[in-house]
Amino acid sequence: MERKKVIIVKDVYKTYHETKVPVKALRGVSIDIHQGEFTAIVGPSGSGKTTLLNLIGGLDRPTKGSIVVGDTDIATLSDNQLIDFRKEHIGFVFQSYNLIPVLTAKENVEFVMLLQKQPKAKRDARTAELMAAVGLADRMDNRPSELSGGQQQRVAVARALAPKPTFILADEPTANLDSKSTADLLDMMAKLNADEHITFVFSTHDQRVIDRARRIITIEDGKVLKDEWVQ
């Protein structure tokens, strides 16, 4: 049975005009991502992988082409609609964790659910469940500064999962982590992917991530160079 497509990127172009010479970051990229994929977008610096991730995440708009997430062409949404869309459908994990430093781990995880106006009981239950899933049930009341890099990134994953998004976008999630933290984090994400069929899309240079991915999309000069499934 064919799995459901959660992301359809069709003939997407992105040109930046921030410098005197326009920079063509993407030149006609088309990919489909299915429910439950564990996919790495790889490529050298400047190849366009982060640009592609930003476009899929609705953080930026394509110059040309369409990006459909679920049933919505996100390129047609207004800024405010995009914010609401991201809140409901997309989980983000950033390279430098980007937790809210003044809140505890629990509050960081709870934050997006608060924006969604979920009731407290539901928030508390989901936060406890996620903190346990990322192995930090005993660090709920610690602030980010009291956690290691690996632990912070786990909290970031829990935060990304909290609103039950359609997929998780992770931009270089292991770039600031040591080997053990990287392995632990990847184990945890692979387990969530296997057990709960959560879709993960990574942009990465990290061979350790590439080794764990089941699909590797290689981008170079703004084009898809290779798209291979790994057994």
């Binding site: 983000f92 980007n98 809210i100 809140l103 509050e107 709870e110």
Partner: protein, 405 residues
Amino acid sequence: MIAKIAWLNIWRSRTRSLVVISSIIIGIWSLVFLLAFMNGQVNNYISSIIENETSHIQIHTPQFKEDFEVDQLIPNADQLVAELGKSADIHAATGRILLNGMLSSSAAARGVMVKGIDLRLEQPVSHLQEKIISGQPIGSGRKNEIMLSQRMAEKLKVKLRSKVVLTFQNISSDITTAAFRVVGIYKTTSKRNDELYAFADIADLQRLAEMPQGSAHQIALLVNDFDATDTLAAEISNQHQLLKVETYKEISPDLELFNSQIKLNMIIMTTIFMLALIFGIINTMLMAVLERMKELGMLMAVGMNKLRVFFMVVLETLLIALIGAPIGMLLGYLTTQYLNETGIDLSTWSEALEEFGMANIIRPFVTADTFFIISIAVVITAVLASIYPAFKAIRLKPVQALRKI
């Protein structure tokens, strides 16, 4: 949660927040003190004029004020004074004879207005006895006693017990001369008044000017409720329609002008203080926003809408202002209370103050209105100061903000 983040954000850069909070405290403290000082000045000026010159309400015949004719007497003024004095709204009432004349000593002569007073009734209105610096008040029972100001005594080159001669017109328009003995020297806060007035017993002037007993040119009233002066004057005027009843504001319109000028100054000063605060707060909040660009980008990336981001920055600014302002107001209040009790001695500038009829001691005070206005001004200032940093925050594109380290 947004309120909690806003509150905790303030303390992320504790030193910077404390610096801006301190500047708000010092600014509000100074503002409260300055406004209190100006209130004290206004009060000092108005109280001096009321005590030394206008009282709260004055009653004359309608023609008296036009040419100060000696025959423009309120008949049976003593009965009216007694009647008004019984009113629960009136603190004190007194009748006065006012005679323009020439006061001469062996060395000099001066134009003068002699006020004929009943010291027992006059005392609660003008507190004349407290202004005597040597000698004693008139009213010992001896005839033709006079009290001169220190300034007048110096001009006439007379001392206590000296004789002076008063030349004036009696009620029949005949020139009359009478010798008076100086029994008391006084000093008020008004240079102009001290150069113009002298005080004698009302009975002596009535007798010398051949006026009917109990008559007076002027009835002066002090009211119990300062704010009810206009209403009370209107009531008295209705009851005594043949007489002209005037409030201190009508007698001395410059008081109202002075009062409104000071109020305008207060508004200007408050505005200047708030403008100075605005730039300090904008600077701090702008720094707070710019150094959190990445975090703000993340908040927007995960679904915090622009309105919430805007509200969070406004709330942070408001909280900073609302920490500083009450402390500043409390310090301002305590300072004002202390200085109200001790008084601020401006005797170094007494010459200048006397020109304006003001006392040397200023007692600053603040009213609840002042605190209310400052509170509103602080909230408006904080909101205005937050608008630019808040706009800066919501204009961020998450994708650009997240790229920043």
